[in-house]
Symmetry: C2
Subunit: 379 residues, 2 copies
């Protein structure tokens, strides 16, 4: 965690800039950020200096840097427009030092998103349980019906339904989640300022109001084919499990499924009539035993339960624990100094400073003249 | 192999009698037959002597014998009627010394059928490849369509389709096999002299003409609930693989499936809409990974192929090898002595005698005044 002011951290700013320079999943950028931190990676990406010795030590490659610069530097002037578009639509920037960064995506390693641009409620990204419900655009009535039933039941169980806002299965899953008052997150392949597909403009508006519309590419970006494939890895990584409802033999949702499998995340597939080509991809996943047969929401809960049961104990300290302690030490009415908050929370002043920066970014804390206050019950 | 005359062997006769005394799968009878041979087991079943020492040595139990006698002896007078009914409908008796005994069922151990009563072509029992296509009586149009398509494609690939002649999936499988000129075997829960279900009288007649209708219970036996369950184990055991097309949550075909799994035979299940209760049992098999997802005949062929690939090399000599050598040594026109046949075949006179008995039972050889002749190209 950076010692953060209320404004975006240097790390967050650099990541926003890097997200403009590189395409999603650019492993060379990801490796540089991992080894050197985002600000230094940005300097290197935009500069002309040879790869520094500390980067060599981290296993980076001078040739990859030179190649990368040829991709990245033509976009060096694009940040301003992206930020202006983001500001216009009220998109928030969420990076790893943001309390709502979905830590699940870190499992993608150097291919993790550098940042996320979010419209709606950033807290939707850190739901205790999230399940991706995905499938073919060319869905049948059966598939849309099943996607809707499944999503509504998951939402009723308090599970956030993640999908891709496409026509067909994705749309049915989002619609049903909204219809049952649940929280849903749509990951887009293009910028969050663009409603894609156009016919889902109203759906996306509703998702913003009751969940979040998210993209790793900056505002203004078109949803290219590459970005669709890259987006699929984020859907899989941001979810505890992925369920494919209907998928043709070569459906893009099988790409999402293979990312889930590669990440070791539980994968389910809903069967259908073998006479329906819209279920051929699901049956393929069942035949290879890559996916578990899903016949209803209970089966999905079991899928997540197994995942929880077999998940490793987190290696680090409990994430978010310090935030809870700092928030407990804040008052809505009385401004408190950092030292006072440190005393009440039992944390060091440095740690409090750092956590306050995060809370300010999400609007959970506010810096006043006389110190810090909590902001109502939000967050 | 018993040193057999052209008439049914003593073993075969005893087995026929035992099949009248006991219910299918009577483990006490099966264990006695396995340890002492059928003729001696019959003596013991009908007698009152204590269990002989050699039976003790084979692990048999005097208390089980006493219990068994109370079940078996009330039926001691029933053989005559059963044989008369069998003769009336032309049912053949097939026992382990018959060349068309389906050796697959021996995997049932002491629960193997003691004998089979067969109408139609006994050779249908020893097809190189046999697949059971089974499922719910309360099938949907989808299920019957799929069962028919699957059975027709398997028949076209030269595979014998095994089923239970019930309404729904079974009937669709038999019908389609007959319609595409294939061979099909129906295992009944009651005697083969009884058309059950009654509405399948014409179907059973056609199966007799182009395959075989088989039961382990003697003619005159009613199809009781126990016999249905016992029959299911024979369907599974007589087939290289079992495919469940449609099955409700508690369908009897799941019983067949569990027998297949217990025998280590490949098991497939056809998925269907999760909104259809007629597919719930299939999805259950897929969820537990007991069954492979089957979407067409190619998947079934792969199922058998895997089975063949992983099957152990037979422990004994090649079954039927001696028969081929004896048949090669026979002439249609010239009667030959046992010694002459032994010389030509390279087998001992005792082995030739034994094989000639088997060939006579199937009508492939005939005893003449001057020795033995082959019967045309049949067999």
């Amino acid at each position: 965690m950076s010692p953060a002011p209320a404004a975006p951290s240097a790390d967050a700013e650099a990541r926003a800039h890097l997200s403009v320079l590189g395409e999603p999943g650019d492993g060379a950028l990801g490796a540089m950020v991992g080894a050197l931190g985002a600000p230094r990676a940005l300097e290197l990406a935009l500069g002309s200096a040879p790869l520094p010795s500390e980067a060599h030590a981290a296993g980076l490659d001078g040739a990859a840097l030179a190649d990368g610069r040829r991709r990245w530097q033509p976009r060096r002037g694009d940040l301003g427009a992206a930020l202006a578009d983001a500001a216009r639509v009220g998109a928030a920037l969420v990076t790893p030092d943001h309390p709502h960064w979905p830590r699940r995506v870190d499992d993608l390693g150097p291919h993790a998103p550098l940042c996320l641009w979010v419209r709606g409620d950033t807290a939707a990204l850190v739901a205790p349980a999230a399940v991706a419900v995905v499938g073919a655009r060319a869905a049948t009535g059966y598939g849309e019906h099943v996607a809707g039933e499944l999503a509504a039941a998951l939402a009723a169980a308090g599970i956030t339904v993640v999908s891709g806002a496409a026509y067909g299965i994705d749309g049915a899953a989002h619609h049903a989640t909204l219809g049952s008052g649940g929280s849903t997150v749509a990951f887009l392949a293009g910028g969050v300022d663009r409603a894609y597909p156009a016919g889902h403009q109203e759906l996306l508006r509703r998702i913003c109001a009751h969940g979040a519309v998210v993209s790793e590419v900056p505002c203004g970006s078109a949803p290219t084919k590459w970005r669709f494939l890259a987006r699929n890895r984020v859907i899989a990584a941001a979810s505890d499990a992925t369920v494919v409802v209907e998928a043709g033999w070569r459906s893009g949702s099988l790409n999402t499924a293979s990312h889930a499998a590669a990440l070791g995340r539980p994968l389910g597939a809903v069967p259908g009539p073998i006479t329906s080509s819209a279920s051929a991809g699901c049956h393929r996943l069942l035949r290879t035993h890559d996916a578990v047969c899903i016949t209803g929401a209970d089966d999905v809960l079991e899928l997540i339960g197994e995942s929880t049961a077999t998940a490793a104990v987190p290696a680090g300290p409990e994430p978010g624990g310090d935030q809870t302690r700092v928030r407990d030490a804040l008052s809505v009415r009385t401004a408190r100094s950092v030292d006072e908050i440190a005393r009440r929370s039992g944390l060091s002043a440095g740690a409090v400073q750092s956590v306050l920066g995060l809370l300010a970014l999400t609007g959970a804390a506010r810096r006043a003249d006389a110190g810090w206050t909590a902001v109502s019950a939000a967050g």
